[in-house]
Symmetry: D2
Subunit: 454 residues, 4 copies
Amino acid sequence: MILKKIRSEGLAHLSYLVGSDGRAAVIDPRRDCQVYLDIAEEEGLRITEILETHRNEDYITGSRELASMTGARIRHGELDFGYGETIREGEEIELGQALLRALSTPGHTPESMSYALVDRSSGPEVIGVFTGDALFVGETGRTDLLGHDRIEELASMLFFSLHDKIVPLGPGAIIYPAHGAGSACGGNISNREESTIGLELSQNRMLKIADKERFVAIKREEKIEKPYYFETMEDINLKGQPVLGRLPQPPPLSPREFHSMADGRVVLDIRKPTAFASAHIAGSTSIPLEVMASYVGWVLGYDRPLLLVLDENGDIIEVVRELIRVGYDRIDGYLRDGLEGWTKAGLPVSSFPVIDPHDLRRRLTDGDIFVLDVRMNKEWEAGHIDGAKHIFVGYLEEHLDEVPRDRPVAVMCSSGLRGSLGAGLLKKHGRRNVLNVLGGMGGWAKAGFPVTDQ
Amino acid sequence: MILKKIRSEGLAHLSYLVGSDGRAAVIDPRRDCQVYLDIAEEEGLRITEILETHRNEDYITGSRELASMTGARIRHGELDFGYGETIREGEEIELGQALLRALSTPGHTPESMSYALVDRSSGPEVIGVFTGDALFVGETGRTDLLGHDRIEELASMLFFSLHDKIVPLGPGAIIYPAHGAGSACGGNISNREESTIGLELSQNRMLKIADKERFVAIKREEKIEKPYYFETMEDINLKGQPVLGRLPQPPPLSPREFHSMADGRVVLDIRKPTAFASAHIAGSTSIPLEVMASYVGWVLGYDRPLLLVLDENGDIIEVVRELIRVGYDRIDGYLRDGLEGWTKAGLPVSSFPVIDPHDLRRRLTDGDIFVLDVRMNKEWEAGHIDGAKHIFVGYLEEHLDEVPRDRPVAVMCSSGLRGSLGAGLLKKHGRRNVLNVLGGMGGWAKAGFPVTDQ
Amino acid sequence: MILKKIRSEGLAHLSYLVGSDGRAAVIDPRRDCQVYLDIAEEEGLRITEILETHRNEDYITGSRELASMTGARIRHGELDFGYGETIREGEEIELGQALLRALSTPGHTPESMSYALVDRSSGPEVIGVFTGDALFVGETGRTDLLGHDRIEELASMLFFSLHDKIVPLGPGAIIYPAHGAGSACGGNISNREESTIGLELSQNRMLKIADKERFVAIKREEKIEKPYYFETMEDINLKGQPVLGRLPQPPPLSPREFHSMADGRVVLDIRKPTAFASAHIAGSTSIPLEVMASYVGWVLGYDRPLLLVLDENGDIIEVVRELIRVGYDRIDGYLRDGLEGWTKAGLPVSSFPVIDPHDLRRRLTDGDIFVLDVRMNKEWEAGHIDGAKHIFVGYLEEHLDEVPRDRPVAVMCSSGLRGSLGAGLLKKHGRRNVLNVLGGMGGWAKAGFPVTDQ
Amino acid sequence: MILKKIRSEGLAHLSYLVGSDGRAAVIDPRRDCQVYLDIAEEEGLRITEILETHRNEDYITGSRELASMTGARIRHGELDFGYGETIREGEEIELGQALLRALSTPGHTPESMSYALVDRSSGPEVIGVFTGDALFVGETGRTDLLGHDRIEELASMLFFSLHDKIVPLGPGAIIYPAHGAGSACGGNISNREESTIGLELSQNRMLKIADKERFVAIKREEKIEKPYYFETMEDINLKGQPVLGRLPQPPPLSPREFHSMADGRVVLDIRKPTAFASAHIAGSTSIPLEVMASYVGWVLGYDRPLLLVLDENGDIIEVVRELIRVGYDRIDGYLRDGLEGWTKAGLPVSSFPVIDPHDLRRRLTDGDIFVLDVRMNKEWEAGHIDGAKHIFVGYLEEHLDEVPRDRPVAVMCSSGLRGSLGAGLLKKHGRRNVLNVLGGMGGWAKAGFPVTDQ
């Protein structure tokens, strides 16, 4: 039996290829799906099955793309999908020695499925389970995506799915979730990727709760931001994803071409926060590559094509992959030779300073600076600078009037990455005196400066 | 200025990407054309021009494929092409510092073009010329492709193209031809890839001929086999090549599936001659990978899809590339785990012996063996075994009745590669007593055995 | 926490890199150890610890090689090692959030250690255990390596190590063994790579045995061949492995050079069984690459340097890796252009036929053929052809007189790979009438022919 | 015949592997020489000859390294080398069909050799020549390396070497020089890589000069900076290069480790100018990767080990390669997770602003800024800003007192890369008010601002 995990960095997405005796299934494929064919070819497998654990909300599923390349059959839970077929509790898929058994595990979404895995060459026991977004390492799936009023219903469902469907597979069963740490689909996913039901019963804060009411109550209290783009993804994944056929290959644009095309398009700069602060094209949006996949959907709409600014010409492919995974298929080009090309063409740049925690501390003492904390709720609640103002970066553009114009604004996140996004947004909206705090709250705390959770 | 040569092994095809200041042209692209986009991306270039030197006959040009990926404009000589635009003598294409100037150089075909290259950053001199199939290193293009009765006309044209158009570019100009050694488009292309007009004037047997009549006379005498598939390629390249969009990815087939699908399809075995001789699927055609691109068009039609036998599961991609370059787009699968999978499934194999020159010599002395030489004309004429029978492997199936049934037949080529093809064809047609001479005439001569050119 | 498994195909060896917060340990490194540095660099880790689970017998451990590259500290169980330091039960190694705790788990060898893994960011529970050769997926380590008279002692130790040390880590703990399927270190290792203590308690034939006496009795009955080379490996791994500094890079040799150097060296041909049967250099030993790592130590001594025959020039690196892992450091060259180069140089070849199960069946009915089964004991006992003679291929050269000279000898293994080795050895020792059964007993059974286990 | 060019980016160094019939020579190998073995292996060649064109001054030659790996013989011109053997005018080296003929071509250095190449399969003509640093595309080698008083002698020698040795090889001969554009070994090397003697006679400013006196006069006037490190390289290349055996693999260091190790070591930051300006470790030296190989020897001594700051953990290998090529073998580590790791650890950073040409222009008008032009002589002479002060960046630390302390200093180069080096040096020496001009004179001119060559 062959079992391969495919990790897609930006979204912390995990998909799997499982096969035996020449046939294979892919669970929750991503959209740039050549990787599955490459593995299959290497192993002498033919991909005949595509299984979805649920209607994904954080990325465009690659099911139809992969089906168009392989002729494989697509199966998913029961919902009004515009493609594929419904699989039901108890149905089994045989792939030589490997056997996948469908489990209905609603909760994260009402139609969520898990797939228990049996290796018939070792015995009839379930050796692992593809849990989708029901159970992660250290976390359970969020239940707020259908709105606050359905949390109770979904959280109850999830509790039963976990305890009546997944836990009974046995403590030794390995879990294969759809996401690792960093995903927006769960609040506190562990950065370790391997776990078992037994380990989760000991270590998973939510799975340890034996009382349904308490479980539901905690879920009800969870305040996880929901990116705006989730609805677009949900919609696309329900109707059926557009088939790309081939990855877009945006061309390099000369600084002059880029300049003239910028009007009517969004200029997305994915360089490091230090580089962006130092010099960027006026009006561009900073989303450093490290957080791009997770944050692009918060701040950019789908109505205008993108133009990209990156460090080097050859870096474009990985960026394109991450963008098409979240539905940004229209990428009209990138700036040739990056910002260096731009400046060598004599074009003007914009900039703002960065600040380190030591300087920030001094200026706070002096009283001449305003700290804007753009992290998520749970991060803010875990500890922040006394006197800072909290506006999550995804909501910043709607709350600009809460940011003072008469003082320097130091934008704070956990590291400086989202700080760059926040500071860039303020700049774009005409604020002149902004700074990005390098190192963010991480650096602040490591430098030994005070933090409050009040 | 950036100038990259892209070598495609099987057909000994050379294409080029030339660019400067963000724009690039590709000369004679191959059909699996992602390679050009990868180079362009690495160099920060946008492919805006595709130039054909002539209507290719030995492979499917990638012009339309590449245009579909880049939006580039296609240009070619004047002929009734179903796509692209005509470029004429003297027209210039500017790519930043690089400049390409069209030269009409008919001869190999009536509409053949060459493209002289100027690097304007160094001066106005022509620094090189893309010669297509007009001038190779050590050879000139064949002029017999339109039939024997047009050789005189075309050879005359070629003589003038060479001496009035290409030679005047100066001895220091570098030549960039469309083929290297091993191509069927020229008789004796050198295995060295770099040359200049000056060097060719000294070393090229044909270019050294100053007398047109003698040049034409030699061309008239040239007997180069013309693969059957050339006409299909010419036709496709005239009308416009089908756009693939993506490389076919044939699936692995279990031995049983393979067996049941073989009917109505062609089983092509590309393993080494030793492996094929030892054990192969009855009825399969042996074309070792080393000669596949050049010989597949001689012996396989386009009417039936292919099934492939190779050594390892992962080798398929390179084979697919070579096949689609010559128009075999329908590849329905390959045998999973190769012949080892087949034999482990308990399925029967066929075989024939190989023989080395020493054994062949002994058996010739004993008089019990018939030598069938399947090489090309020019090879046969350069030297063969006294008493051998010559039938070029591409013509073998039409001359089976000239091969005796009452004696062992030792199939001879230059190395054993085409011998495998020949022996396999005889086997397929029911001959039971065939052998492949390993080492071929190369080994025979090195072993010190007699050769005649009578 | 980062945990990477490094799989080395030929020996089915598994090693691991585990790290956190900039520091990493490698467990049971292989000798070509650049791979660990590459992973460490990618992850920003510094390798500071090397842990051995036991004195390996089937390969040369890479501990000293890796220590010479990184300055890492080497630790192993208590034995008179000529290098490194002893680690004892309960000692802990901290690598940021990751913690490794040493467990004394004797049995496979007296000094065997396991290392329990804790991810302190999730909790104090043991999440996995590096079991070395104590516990595999589906199997336990062999206990016969110190001789038959110590099996009882070692098997008892192993029983307690498993049940008192490893099982108590909990059913949810993941096991990370030192070998996968195909290793000579365990009789029936599963071809699945992931498992847990819970799963093994359900599925592992040996771990399910709750009674020590029965466990020991079965171990006492196990007849697993012990490769001759194990003693050399044990000796080297005790004293300290020679540091290579760099992988050997044997040069290509012209056929004439190869021919003249063959005297005093061993010619090892790693091509496929079909290719070897068809044509090989007289006197060469066939060990197809697929079984090379496991079988080379059975048939080749360490006293003479090797010369290699492979399919293509570029394939040498992977072969060199596999050879140095088992101590064949002296590789004086390989045949340029493989056997094709040899035959094109006019040099003679030797050959023998292959046979498929159908033909074998016919000839057995005719009564003119002797079947020599060269598989391992356990394979023979599981089923063979009635009337066949069993000599394990590793013992064949000492039992040549049991192979008849007056009849064709069909050499049988499970697939044809070791059959090639066996047939080649017979050839080398002057037997003229040998055949290799393609597909082996696998093909025979699939073809529906009778098998007996008597 | 096989001829491969190996390009080493930073130093714009070109080396060559030429081979035929199983044997190969490498001309002017670089020190990280595995690349030659990889090519040789791919092509079935054994490297038996290493040829040096001259005692290199800009990098450590890989001759001894490669010889230690292959056993190849090293040859060079006549000088008191501590290794290898002398080759003399007219000596020939046969490599199957390829033949190399030694030409004594003194001038760049007194012992310089060129190697004419004959492809005996095409004819006896010289097809190309490895010219070392005698003749480049568009330039000739500098003749000032032995001091101003020997220029006349060496320039005369070079004139004769060019016209009596190289030009007579014929206009069609291809030139294979040791450097491309960007090298410090010639003043104006073209950025095109392919040329011929014929083309150079038309296009090469220096080769076109038919009068020796004028040639020498121009050479005498050439003012090319000579990096300080050249003498170290020359010395090492004379005595014999230390053999590394293996590339150094510096470990990642935590911010705290890095901080504590920085004392007594040099901190080299190779990030982009924008990133460095925005935030860097106080006291570090900025040499952006793009100019690192060429400029490191100007500003860093060999007495202290290096610590590196780069963007990502995995980028280290390419940097190490470039550093060891110029003799910086002691690299004690790099900052884990780059500057992001540093700031997340709460450590302080230093910074300075960048400025674009438009802002610079405004501030020049306002009169409050001092422009320091750190480019090379020839660049300065070709055009600069009126009123700017010229100090070449390599001499900056010796002329600090010429830089005013009372005004902001805008450091200007051609693009911003060396400006980062210059601004960083000023910062390191305590200047507080420095700026780097992004886009440099390139951007200034493109923006349409005035330039003077007075």
